[in-house]
Subunit: 135 residues, 2 copies
C-alpha cells in the first residue's frame, strides 16, 4: 500500500486541500487495483470503511479528481455516472444485466483510421463500449 504522503501529495498537486474526506477517498480509489465505480459504490465503500463522508462530498470529490485527470469518466448508461481509476487509453465491456464494467484486453480490439475532427475542433477522446448481454 502506498504511503499516506503519496495521496497527500497527489491531492495537493491537484490544487486541492488534503482534507480527511479527500484523503480517505483517494486511499479507497488509488490504494489498490484499478477499479470502476459510481458515486454510490464509493460512498458505500467509505461507509464500510467507517469513513464519514456525505454523498455530496463524494460527488464533489469525484468531479474534482476527474478534472485533475486522476479519474476518467465512462459513459455507458443514461442514468448513472461511472468513473475509472485507470485513466489510460482503453476500452470497456459493459454488462447490461448487472451494470458492471470491465476492461477490454488491449490486444483484442483496435481502432484503425481515426477520423478527423471538424474544423476548429479537437477530438477529446474516442470511447468504445462493447455491450454484453446474456446469450
Amino acid at each position: 500500500m502506498r504511503p499516506y504522503s503519496h495521496f497527500l501529495e497527489q491531492i495537493r498537486s491537484a490544487g486541492l486541500r488534503p482534507t480527511r474526506q479527500r484523503l480517505a477517498l483517494a486511499k479507497l480509489l488509488f490504494g489498490g487495483e484499478d477499479r470502476h465505480l459510481t458515486a454510490e459504490t464509493l460512498h458505500a465503500d467509505a461507509q464500510a470503511d467507517k469513513v464519514r463522508v456525505s454523498l455530496a462530498t463524494v460527488y464533489n470529490t469525484l468531479h474534482q479528481f476527474t478534472d485533475a485527470g486522476m479519474l476518467r469518466e465512462i459513459v455507458v448508461d443514461a442514468s448513472r455516472s461511472y468513473f475509472d481509476t485507470n485513466t489510460s487509453d482503453h476500452h470497456h465491456f459493459y454488462f447490461e444485466k448487472d451494470g458492471m464494467l470491465s476492461d477490454v484486453p488491449e490486444q483484442s480490439i483496435s481502432i484503425d483510421k481515426v477520423p478527423d475532427a471538424p474544423e476548429g475542433m479537437i477530438i477529446k477522446s474516442i470511447d468504445v463500449v462493447v455491450r454484453i448481454a446474456e446469450a
Copy 2:
C-alpha cells in the same frame, strides 16, 4: 414522403396499435432524413407540428420503437437519452458543447479485431463515441 400506409404498417408489425400519436411520431421520425433526437426534441417537434402528444407518450413510444428495432438508443451523456433513426452499424461524433450528435463517416474509422464475449454472453453492440471539444 412515404405514404401514410407505410407508417401504419410499420407500427402494426411492431405489434402496436396505430394510434394518432404513434402515427404522428413515426411520421416525424421516419418521414425524412435520418436524425438524432431526445424525448424533449421530439416532443417539441410534435408541438411545432400541432400534434398533441404528452411527454409521457413520447417516452413510451420511443421505447416501444426501440424495442421493435425501429430506433437505436445512443448513450453519450449520463443525463439524457438520445435516439437515432439510423439503426445500422455506425459511430458517432458527440459535441459536448451543444449536446449534438452526428455520424462518423463510414470510411473514416474502423474497428479491427472484435473482442470475444465472455463465456455464455453475447456482444449486443460495439458503440464508438468520438467526443469533440472546441480547439
